[in-house]
């Protein structure tokens, strides 16, 4: 076999390589010039026909050329792959402005979220949640809570009566009464949340059904200072570090009864249009458990004392959600829910 003309073979390779514009053509070039039957590989196999003295030089020349060809093919391949990738990516353009198509989450109700938040705060103080019936015996709704028949306090709670002399509870305080009836071990720390009912005309701010959350802490040695301490803790945890004030209120089942006002966030108590000039917004009703309530359930009011408080969670939820029409909380309008959750119907 004649000695291969290595420079000519390399020149032929480079001419073919220059014409290869896609991976298929490059593969043909590879097989033609670097494959096992390529002239250079055949040249290596024919070295035995080369005179022994020339053989090392010829072998070196062929190997150098073969190596150079492989390097140039690899480089060309990298270049072609980069071009191909670029072309593919270009072809795969997707409009990032199209709306997303993932399954949208729903949401829990604002009232549930508010209740959860309140209960989380109360759990830090050791409160546990208890529930009671909504169709209630008048004893637990009124009599046991120091509201005798014909007491003016019943005016504010015009009652839904149901058959057999029962009623729809007008406050969740009835759960406190049932708790005092069944528990004796101190301390008692319970929270009840749920629906309450008032038989009154419905308007923008009055509902026949609404939600409350109440707490009751019974123990030995609880004082007025403790009452204020718990209320201040609740106010801070639930409403932030805003000024508060305590004011006298009347609830038949507590004595003394206390209201907690939060300084208006807009005027900090100075009085503005948003707070109707009051400077304050009432957020909590509370008090020391009335001795008559203790006596009803066989507790000695000289031995134990109690702290009771209640929050209007409907109003809290409406404020949290920015609703001026509270009734919207109890309507099943999906548009309202989506606006609350996603900002758009």
């Amino acid at each position: 076999m004649a000695r291969p003309d290595v420079p000519a073979l390399v020149a032929a390779f480079r001419a073919d390589l220059a014409n290869a514009t896609d991976p298929t053509q490059l593969d043909v070039v590879r097989r033609t010039h670097s494959g096992k039957n390529s002239p250079l590989k055949l040249g290596l196999r024919g070295l035995r026909d080369v005179p022994a003295d020339d053989r090392p030089a010829v072998a070196a020349e062929i190997n150098a050329a073969a190596e150079a060809i492989e390097v140039e093919i690899a480089a060309a391949q990298g270049q072609l792959e980069a071009v191909a990738l670029e072309a593919r990516l270009d072809a795969e353009w997707a409009d990032p402005n199209l709306p997303g198509v993932a399954t949208g989450r729903g949401s829990r109700h604002p009232l549930s979220l508010v209740e959860d938040r309140c209960l989380a705060v109360l759990r830090r103080l050791g409160f546990e949640r208890v529930d009671g019936p909504e169709v209630e015996h008048p004893f637990y709704n009124f009599d046991a809570l120091n509201v005798p028949e014909h007491h003016p306090a019943r005016d504010a709670q015009d009652t839904f009566w149901v058959t057999d002399g029962f009623l729809l509870r007008s406050h969740t305080t009835s759960v406190q009464a049932r708790t005092l009836e069944t528990r004796r071990d101190l301390p008692i720390r319970i929270a009840s949340a749920g629906r309450a009912y008032r038989n009154e005309a419905v308007d923008a701010t009055h509902l026949a059904m609404f939600h409350q959350l109440e707490g009751l802490w019974i123990d030995r040695g609880l004082t007025f200072a403790h009452l204020k301490g718990i209320l201040a803790f609740l106010a801070t945890e639930l409403f932030g570090d805003q000024r508060i004030r305590f004011k006298p209120k009347f609830y038949p089942y507590t004595e003394p009864s206390v209201g907690v006002d939060l300084a208006c966030r807009l005027c900090d108590g100075a009085g503005c249009e948003a707070c109707h000039g009051a400077g304050w917004i009432t957020i909590l009703g509370a008090g020391m458990v009335h001795p008559a309530v203790f006596e009803t359930f066989g507790f000695d009011p000289n031995e134990v004392s109690g702290i009771a408080f209640g929050l209007g969670t409907t109003r809290m939820a409406a404020q949290w959600a920015g609703l001026t029409r509270v009734k919207a909380l109890y309507e099943q309008d999906a548009r309202v829910m989506r606006i609350l959750h996603r900002g758009a119907p």
Binding site: P133, W161, R189, A208, G229, A334
Partner: protein, 685 residues
Amino acid sequence: MKIHRAVLARFVDLPPEIVDSPRGLRDLLDDLGIEVKRLDGDVLTLELLANRGDHHAYLGIARELAARLDTPLLCPPLPPLRVVAPARFTVESSLCLSYSLTPLAGTGGAELPAGQRLALEAAGQSGNTAPVDATNLANLELGQPTHAFDADRIRGRVRVRASRPAEQAWLLFTPEPRTLPAGTLVIADDEKILAVAGVIGCEESKTTAETRQILLESATFDPVAVRLASRALGVHTDSAARFERGADPDAVLDGAARVADLLEATGAWARTGPTEFWAAPRPDPAPIHLSGDEVRLFLGLDLPDTQIARVLGALGFAVSPGFSVRVPARRRWDVTRPADLLEEIARIIGYNAGPVALPPVALGSQPTPGERRRDQVDDVLVGLGFYEVITDGFHARALSERLGLPTGHPLAVHVETTNALDRGYSLLKNSGVQQAIEAVATNVRARVLELKLFEWTRAFHPRDPAFDRLGATERPLLWAIATGGDRAATWAGRPRPADTSFVRGLLDELSAELSVPLAAGPIEADHRLAAVLHPHRRGAVRVGDRVIGAFGEIHPAVLASFKIKGVRPVYLEIDADPLLSADSRRPPFHEPPTWHPIERSLAFTLPARFESARVDQVIDLAAPRWLERRWISDRFEHDGLSTLTWTLRFANADNTRTVDEVNAAAERVIAAVVGELGPHGVKLR
């Protein structure tokens, strides 16, 4: 109640920073529990505590301020009355606690001086004849309601008595006489009723501009009697508001003296005789014992005994050494025990004075397992796109009737309200389904066709007489309803419908999240929800053998009754108690296999209405123990038949399973299915 700042200043010495600053007075009154709801110039609109009848007058409000500020209380001068036993009236009811009549005569035409009218104008009560203005003003000032009768229109003796059956009275400002409830406490003469005691006078005895002789009534009545009369008649007056909260038995003569003084000061009126007065015997209430230490411990304040005594004294309590406290008559209604006195002291010292301290707390508490599980359920539902809603506990009767169920059907039996002002609140819900369908109707009307809602609520069922203190059997439940697609339609295409299979998927997700085996199965025809669900697209939800709920497409006839078109809602209702308390069995953890399992797909054609569960059951029995999992991976309908593809995944944990073994197992499954169910029309496709 509306009061004028300048009038209030006549009853108590207010410091300049208070009297000159509306804000200062407002804050001070708020701090005393006399809440200022509105401030219009010098007029304050007050919201009074329900138990404080004495606050319904300038004097009562001033007493609080004087006690707080430690300044004197300034009472208007009261002329002495010549008091004699009754001659022209008789009290015939124990509901009258004291009664007086004072005769006056005048020329008419006079009016109270402008300074006196300020309080009336602030209260919106000005512009009447002098006798009416004087009685109104005395009530505003002292909190003692009085009433002036035209003496020339009274026939015979005045009697305080209970009304008789069917007896009529022509109440002031009404067009005609009306029948009073029998037993209403009234003031009457020999011919007619002159007034409903403590509530309102009557047209036939009222004073007018022509009146020249008046009989001035000042009295105290039983609070409950006044309250019942006021409510029964639907008449709410300042007088009734005052008496309902318990009036001051000691102020009867003061009220008469003040009115007489105001009228005589006009120069047009003068008393023509003594005041006839009667009072029921009144036992002196026992003193309340309180100790200074008790006060200091309760308030956490180091108050000297002298200060405690001063506060109580300023409020009219008589404090003997050793804190034996006698309650003034005006407070006998609401101060009866030491706790009441503690409140008095706390209020005057100020609720914002003194320490604020949290009681010691060892450890917080944790949510109960049921509460945690409910959160898990919420996570699943919200993750699938459901929105939580809260519906009313009651609904209109018409809503229940729209279900079209016969009398006696469980969904037609309700606990009912008996006095609802609104017909929308007639029936307590006995399921979530009525309001769920109504929610769909509401949203469809608003053109919202894609809907997923859920609620935790309670159903109410007639009471079990065994529980005498429970008015209903209350059943906590979870309901969910979905319409439209299983997910929102997007530009990328329409989703498959939210149907019973979607609910099955929801149950699977709940099962996985709760580790509770929720299974779906056939529903019994007598299930309370069966009648409102599509008869061939419904099922029961079970935990083990126990049915805890139902699901299915709402019956088309029910949808038509609710005028719902264009959607096919699917509904799920589960009893919450068993859901939240069912045993949780988390499956043991297995390392995923190193070697890939081997799968085979078998497609069987089923005749119409043939339940896939029957095929599944045969596969389960025929497959080897090393069948790791099976599931339906494809379904299509053709020629009234459906072809379902089961994918069988055979375990190959150690890579020793041969293709021949797997193929043989698959063949055995095929043979079993075709052998057992072939006679029913099931074929291998």
